[in-house]
Each structure stands twice: as C-alpha cells, then as structure tokens.
Subunit: 113 residues, 2 copies
Amino acid sequence: MPRLLPVVDSISACCAGALASPLSRNDADELAVLLKAVADPVRLQLLSIIRGAEGNEACVCDLTDVVALSQPTVSHHLKVLTDAGLLTRERRGSWAWFTLVPARLADVASIFD
Amino acid sequence: MPRLLPVVDSISACCAGALASPLSRNDADELAVLLKAVADPVRLQLLSIIRGAEGNEACVCDLTDVVALSQPTVSHHLKVLTDAGLLTRERRGSWAWFTLVPARLADVASIFD
DNA sequence: GAGTAGTATCGACATCTGTCAATATCAGAG
DNA sequence: CTCTGATATTGACAGATGTCGATACTACTC
C-alpha cells in the first residue's frame, strides 16, 4: 500500500481577509469547516483551557473533569479541533497531550480583518 | 403596551481576547451563538457580498440570485445574521436593505486575538 | 379600494451534530 | 503474556439546522 505524502500545509490556502471580496460557494464551504470547529461552546472551552495552560498543552484526563462531559465526548471534540488544525496530538505514555496551534487560531481571526 | 427600550449594545459584553482565560460554559454559549452565525457557507457568502457592495449594503432581491437559493432561505440567513448583530435591516419602499456592522465583525476577530 | 412586487413567516422534511454507553485500541507495569 | 489505566472508535439516539413550498404580510401603483 503506497504511503501518503504529508499535506500538513494544504490546510492553509485561506483565511486572510477572506470576506474582502465575494466568496465562491467552494471557498465559503472551506472557511465554514474551520469556523464550525470553533463555533461550539465545549470546543471554545477546551481551546481556552489549553491556551491558559502551561506550554499551551493539556491532556485528555485533565480536560474531561473541567467540561463535565463523558470521555468519549471530549475525545470527539478534540478530534474535531485537531482535524481543523487548531490542535496537535502527541502521545506520552498512556496519555494523549493536545497542544494549541496559535497560527491556526490567528487564521480564524484573519478571516474577519 | 409599553415600548421596549433599545438594547443595541447589550450584545457586546464580550469577545476581546475571550480565549485568554478558561471560559465558563455560559460565556462559551454566548460566544458560540455569534460564531455559529458566521459558521455557515451561505452566510459567509452573504457577508462577503455585502461587504464588497457600495456602502456595505445590499437588498434581498440582489442577494437571492447570487447564492442561488430560494427567497425564504436567503431571508432566513439574513435574519440569523441580523439577530447576531452583524447586519442591520432597513426598509426602503418595498425593498429590505441590509447593512454590514463592521464593529460586530471585528468582535468576531477579537475573540481569537 | 384591488392588484402587484418584494419580503417574512410557517410547516414539513432530510440532514447534520452533540451526547452517551459499550467496546476496541494502545501503552506501561508486573 | 496478562492486567490495568488512558484514550479512541462505534452505534444509537434526540435535538438542532438548512432547505423548500405555501402562505401571510408590507408598501407602492393604479
């Protein structure tokens, strides 16, 4: 089976001043994917917690308690944020640590500048 | 029946640097309402079109054609954006004109700064 | 007044989304 | 290898959301 090439930066052909000129439906769809990732109260809480933590990182075990939701639900939200490029995931022993990607957060802000 | 007082600015006890410290669920809910308003491809298109138009305003009749959706659907999206404070509505004769509220758009960006 | 054009609301429907319990996967300890 | 704790995935379900057709409302014209 062929390996897939890394396409990490394909996420970011976007964002800055996106609203300055009329958007095509396709471009709007892409932007909406990123915005939907942050347009959820639980995910906003998770982002704010991670941002306020040491090294902009936190593990699932800490997060579950704070938002008072089941572990699978928290895991789901973290996956959405990671898929959107807002977090990166790293395993350290049994724990999964999630780190903020500040540049990606800045991408969101730049849409509306 | 008593008149209601204008409460236009009650919308904006929010936003700037909201993610800097851990959000309560209530605060996160409020932010999510605003973000959900912009996290839709059609509404992003509408915002971009209005922003690119003369005087930051457009009427429904113009918008319906561009996004290729039914008039009730466009009207619905405009209502969502207006309820979120991103647009203001004004009737001129039979037409309804919607004007961008740049400060409210800046509010969205400021969440992620 | 009646007619007409633009817009808003309503009701219905299919799809998407957040949530959980159950289960599977992963990694370290013994 | 087995056990145990942490995380991810699956399946199911209720509620939210986007869309449309039908209809109601609004304002101008005649």
